[in-house]
């Protein structure tokens, strides 16, 4: 029995090719790290993309790299390409 809540993560549409067309995926997770692990477990085709670095937006706040940030079912969560700058 899992104690982790179920959260929804929205993917950018270019990733549908790896998820059988889904652009919203439900995963059991309490942190971004667990969320990304769950995402890859559900859709192994995303492993390279997640491994090579992604950012996550939680209710509009972009988390560039932190895996320990908390996520909850009431959050709006988006996977984003890894942010970098000049």
């Amino acid at each position: 029995m899992s104690l982790k809540p179920v959260v929804k993560i929205h993917l950018w549409s270019g990733l549908r090719a790896f998820t059988g067309g889904e652009d919203v995926v439900e995963v059991e997770a309490a942190t971004i790290g667990e969320l990304l692990n769950g995402l890859v477990a559900r859709h192994p085709g995303l492993e390279d993309i997640v491994e090579s670095g992604v950012s996550v937006a939680i209710d509009g706040k972009v988390i560039a790299s932190g895996l320990s940030e908390a996520v909850a079912p009431e959050n709006e969560i988006w996977l984003m390409q890894r942010l970098k700058g000049g």
């Binding site: 929205h10 560039a64 988006w78 984003m80 700058g85 000049g86």
Partner: protein, 753 residues
Amino acid sequence: MALDSLKTDGFKQIGTRPNRPDGLDKVTGRALYGADVTAPGMLWGVIVRSPHAHAKIVKIDTSKAEAMDGVKAVVTRADFSDAIQPAAGPRGEMWNVLENVMAGDKALYDGHAVAAVAATSQLAARDAAKAIVVEYEVLPHVTDVDKAMAADAPVIREGATEKSVPEGMHPNVVRYHESGHGDLEAGFAEADLVIEDTFKTEATHQGYIEPHACLGTLGGDGKGELWCCTQGHWNVQKVCAALLGLETSQLRVTASEIGGGFGGKTAVFIEPVALALSRKANKPVKIVMNRADVFRATGPTASTSMDIKIGMKKDGTITAASGLFRCQGGAFPGAPMEFTAMCAFAPYNLQAVKQTGFDVMTNRPKQAAYRAPGSPMAAFAVESVIDQLCNQLGLDPIDTRLKNASREGTQASFGPKWDRIGLVETLEAAKAHPHYSEPLKEGQGRGVSCGFWFNHGGETAVSLALSEDGTVQLAVGTPDIGGSRASMAMMAAEELGIPYENVRCTIADTATLGYNEISHGSRVTYASGLATIKAARDAVKKLCARAAAKWGIEEDAVKWEDGCAVPSGPNAGDHEPLPLAKITAKMGATGGPIVGHFEATPEGAGVSFATHIVDAEVDKETGKTTISRYTVVQDAGKAIHPTYVEGQFQGGAAQGIGWALNEEYIYGEDGRLQNAGFLDYRIPVASDLPMIDAVIVEVPNPGHPYGVRGVGETSICPPLAAIANAVSAAAGVRLKQLPMSPPRILAALGTHD
């Protein structure tokens, strides 16, 4: 990390304009930049570069050079680590860096490094470089982004394509991005007017006045020292260690004063070469690039080809928008097409939007970040179409943008809902600015554009050590590229309640602090600033503990006020305020040195918007454009040192003016760069520009204790489009290709007549 309660007023230091601590050194010529240091017994290194855009390296004969007087070492690819292997995607990035630093089997662009030599003087090294004989087998090349995607284009490298790229595309297309939401077809059907157009921008160079320079020494024991001009010396340390097979911690890197970077000094080019030569010669080696090599072999930004389609109702409501963005970033993956795509429609609240990006390889130098990499080109294309729609529907450009503007809670074009953002505030300030209502003179045109950029946090470590006399040594790890030492000292002084002059801020070397990410992503005032504030608060906590011990009360019964420890309330007892310097004077005997720290990756950089207004005049006989008035309005969140914020706004606008009007990489049929010098690659000079009005809007960023947003990059996002809109209005014909140089304007006028 819970967000702190935001402090946005009641400051003593923040918002003032003190002199910068490095000012005296810089006006007297004492400041030491990359090329300004020497070491005893030092050699000079010179790099041999490919004259071909694409060629197999058949043989490198170094025997003649090695026999010359004063020559101490020659290196080729064989002198770098063979443990780094190619791979598609970011896993292959270290190999890409190595391949760019020193070519392997093939030269991939005009200017690609193929060998290097170290000798006792720069002249001796130059002579020896000429004596190195490289035999090439010239291959077909391609330098244009659209041609590189065509079926008959030569393949730059097999195996570089990421899985995300749709089947059937040319192997030169190595990465792909697609995002958006809503029903495009329905959206366009709802529009009263749909405009679809194609835009192109050429590659431009960051154009820092200081060429890359370094002085490195590396012994047979694997221990090294490196001095170099860089935006990020921990990254230089990491890359050099990997390329030379060293243990990272055995190489200490010190960042020199940096003579401009703008993203171009986030990359590593010559440092591993100097260290490889040093290891072979067993002497320190200095390398200073010449200007032609800076243009040929260091990162310009991507060139682009973009298709935009936007639908609008008569009342100005945008009903749908789509964009296709093709970006070439040279002979390696990495053109910032995902940012071009994600920034393109970010200013607008859209029901239906789609953006698609392609990263394309060509035989050009490896692109490097340039101030908001990828975003300015997108704004050029999108904001040009918005301008056309406003013109044809008879709508005010600022009112139309306000009507469709992204706000807190609306859905961004790239997915999430916006946090607190300041786009509307910049538009309103632009509308209220006297510039916007000033009547235009005969022959002038006015252009407006918005721009957007993501800011960045990144790994950050700061140490704040108190001296016995109560002054402060603040060590930060982000090279100062725009006056940040002053801003850091101001934030530390604010928290500690002491004078600005009592804080000395230095950029620490890699041995002194934990890893600091590069000074990029407009992150320095945000992240190192947040780190400085937290380190100061850490020191304050320790100071209060010393006071509590002295007074014999609980630590939480002491608070910090105006540079003194004071009892937090009447119950804490009656104690005279204890100033910082009185605590530090006794610190050795009351528990030892007091140092505040911060080490973390702040996640709350937020984003930044700007709106620019430009007036331009076009000489229809010569095609020359004059910028007659320019106003920048940008959200800074909170301006720590307003003068330096204005400087970032003005500098970004000036670079944008150069990009819009003059600057471009010009390649010949032979694939060689035709204008590798400041005479032919013309950046704006003083007589080209007007004064640039800078208006600071402050919509606090909830992710920083004082509300700071990064300001370095967003200022280059609107200029290309704002100027194109002004020039198009003045010329009476739409300009769709950058730069809008006199020949291109004359051509456009000709087709219009």
